[in-house]
Amino acid sequence: MSVETILFILVLLAGFYTAWNIGANDVANAMGTSVGSGALTLRQAVMLAAIFEFTGALFFGSHVSDTIQSGLINSSVFTGNPLILVYGMLAALTGTGIWLQIASYFGWPVSTTHSIVGGIIGFGAIVGGVDAVYWDNISFVFASWIVSPILGGLVAYFIFSILRKQIFYTSEPVQNAKKYTPVLVFIFMIIMVVMIMFHGLDHVSIQFTFFQTLAIGTGVACLSSLLSYLWVRGIEVPKSSKDAQNLYNPEVIVALEKAKKHLILAQNSSNGSHRYQLTLLNDEIDHLSSAYKQHEDPELTSREYAIVERIFGRLQIITACCMAFAHGANDVANAIGPLSAAISVLQTGFISSSATIPVWQLALGGVGVVAGLATWGWRVIETIGRKITELTPTRGFAAEFGAATTVVLASRLGLPISTTHTLVGAVVGVGLARGIEALDLRTTRDIVISWIVTIPIGAAITIAIFYILLAIFG
């Protein structure tokens, strides 16, 4: 067996293992909250995750994979001895795997993306020299790591504020939830479809112009909006129970409203002490009518809110699937980017600076992710689902809306970001909009620490393994 064949097998194994790791640990972030809120059963979540992660990896994963493969370091510095690149990429993959094992043992929140990027930069800088690294691209990537949780948080804050004001604050939450469902679905789907299809899907030979994309997006959004409208139409608005209604005569409330209107007229056209007395009278009428309204069924509000949550449970399925799609697209690159660079060297013997990633490699990544999900990831989804009951469907929907749109945008721009950090940012956004009972902000501190720590450690481990590989094979 030649050295090339051994390396080929090692690279495939390392890439598959990294993809497996992503499926085992990261996918739970996309689907876990839907299982926790009861919107999906574990089985449904795993199946949907498998489908959408694979599709996302295959049809949308090449942009980020390209960045990792050839956008971070200038591989042409290794033209003299191309196998160095192979050792480097293999070291990055293995190093990330080891670092993730260590971190999960200690419970540190470490991101696959950050480790791989750190590893590649470390290898590029130390072995290829400082000029081998595309520092301007790297600074874009670093910036995206900071911006993505913030953007996810902003969108989630905005969406939950809308839910709060237009549904929860009103006196008819179920009716307003029914009204807003098609609107929210429309907005979400059009954003998703346009961003995903913008320059055409990968490996699909049809290309669309911007206007065709917009038209398709509008079409898909209208269709899903219509489907959601038909679905919520059948949901019954709860009424006060019969006993409560019999006690108090609703005609009294109507009569009081009329009296109040006349009093306001009188108040506005009088002055001085008369006006003051009329104001006092108005206040008393307000007090009386609210006292009457209170004696409606006291359980009504909690029943209404339960139904609103049920509606958003279904909506959460849509956002969860899009999260899985976006996650597949963004994270499969962590495994396949380095793998692709290494394999192109092993197959051709040359460094090629801009090869497109072949379908089989993206499919391999997708299969690895699904394998990880099926063997271990489902357990993690179940754990998250069991422990996170605080994220009710309305909150989960807002958070996933923010996270999914941000991750899809980043994948479109070819920026490798951490989906977990983005989701954390989105949940914090919902918390800031007063949506969550108790939010532990120490997690944000842990995330900032992980930004600072993961790159040097990822780089150090990669460099160490690189020199080991060089010693064995070189």
Binding site: R164, Y169, E390, A438, L441, D446
Partner: protein, 225 residues
């Protein structure tokens, strides 16, 4: 990165707050039985009930401390932390007042005179009623959380707060009537008994006072004008 998402959610103090209120309610509810026993001059029963109330108040104290221990500064809540802690403190104070009232009744074998018996029961009932209205507000906490302390639900709770204020006002009026009756009967009892009854009326009246304070504090948590 399982731990990042899991660690994001802290222990919510709202359900423990409601449990604490249930504990306080158990204590306050025993007051009626205590005073019925006192009327029948069953002083042994008065002592037993008073001991039971002390136990309940002590347990409420422990629950309160537990809640306070689990509210680190890093926990972000949808309401002002100070308001929440103040509501908790007021709830606990009410349990203490009920216990104090019971203990006062055991210090001496006092007799409930015919002249103020009816007014006294009216007073006791009105105070417990005010407290019960305040407990209804705490029961609404779950709906308030769901609607982020604003909107129609918050307006409904604001109305409930007004109701507690009104009941407290009614209790004050009965208290004045009761005190006048006590003064009329001053020659039928020793000074120490007179003083003891005064203190009992005071701590009982404080139950509605503090219930109103509690309701006002919850009012401050609401996002309404």
């Amino acid at each position: 990165m399982l731990s990042a998402i899991l660690n994001l959610f802290g222990r919510s103090p709202f359900a423990p707050l409601q449990s604490h209120m249930s504990q306080v309610t158990k204590c306050v509810e025993l007051l009626k039985t205590l005073f019925i026993a006192l009327e029948k001059k069953d002083y042994e029963a008065v002592q037993t009930i008073s001991d039971a109330m002390s136990e309940l108040e002590h347990e409420a104290d422990l629950m309160k401390n537990d809640i306070r221990n689990h509210l680190p500064k890093s926990l972000f809540l949808p309401v002002d932390r100070g308001n929440l802690l103040e509501v908790l403190g007021l709830q606990d104070k009410i349990a203490g007042l009920a216990e104090d009232t019971a203990v006062l009744c055991t210090l001496k074998q006092i007799v409930m005179l015919e002249s103020f018996k009816n007014d006294f029961h009216e007073f006791l009932d009105k105070n417990v009623e005010t407290f019960k209205s305040a407990t209804l507000i705490i029961k609404e906490m779950h709906e308030l959380l769901e609607s982020s302390f604003g909107g129609a639900e918050a307006l409904k709770v604001r109305g409930m707060v007004d109701e507690v204020s009104y009941k407290k006002h009614e209790s004050d009026i009965i208290q004045r009537k009761l005190l006048k009756n006590l003064f009329k009967a001053e020659n039928e009892m020793s000074y120490s008994t007179f003083h003891l009854w005064q203190k009992i009326f005071e701590s009982l009246g404080d139950i509605s006072n503090f219930s109103e304070k509690l309701a006002s504090r919850v009012r401050l948590m609401l996002d309404v004008k």
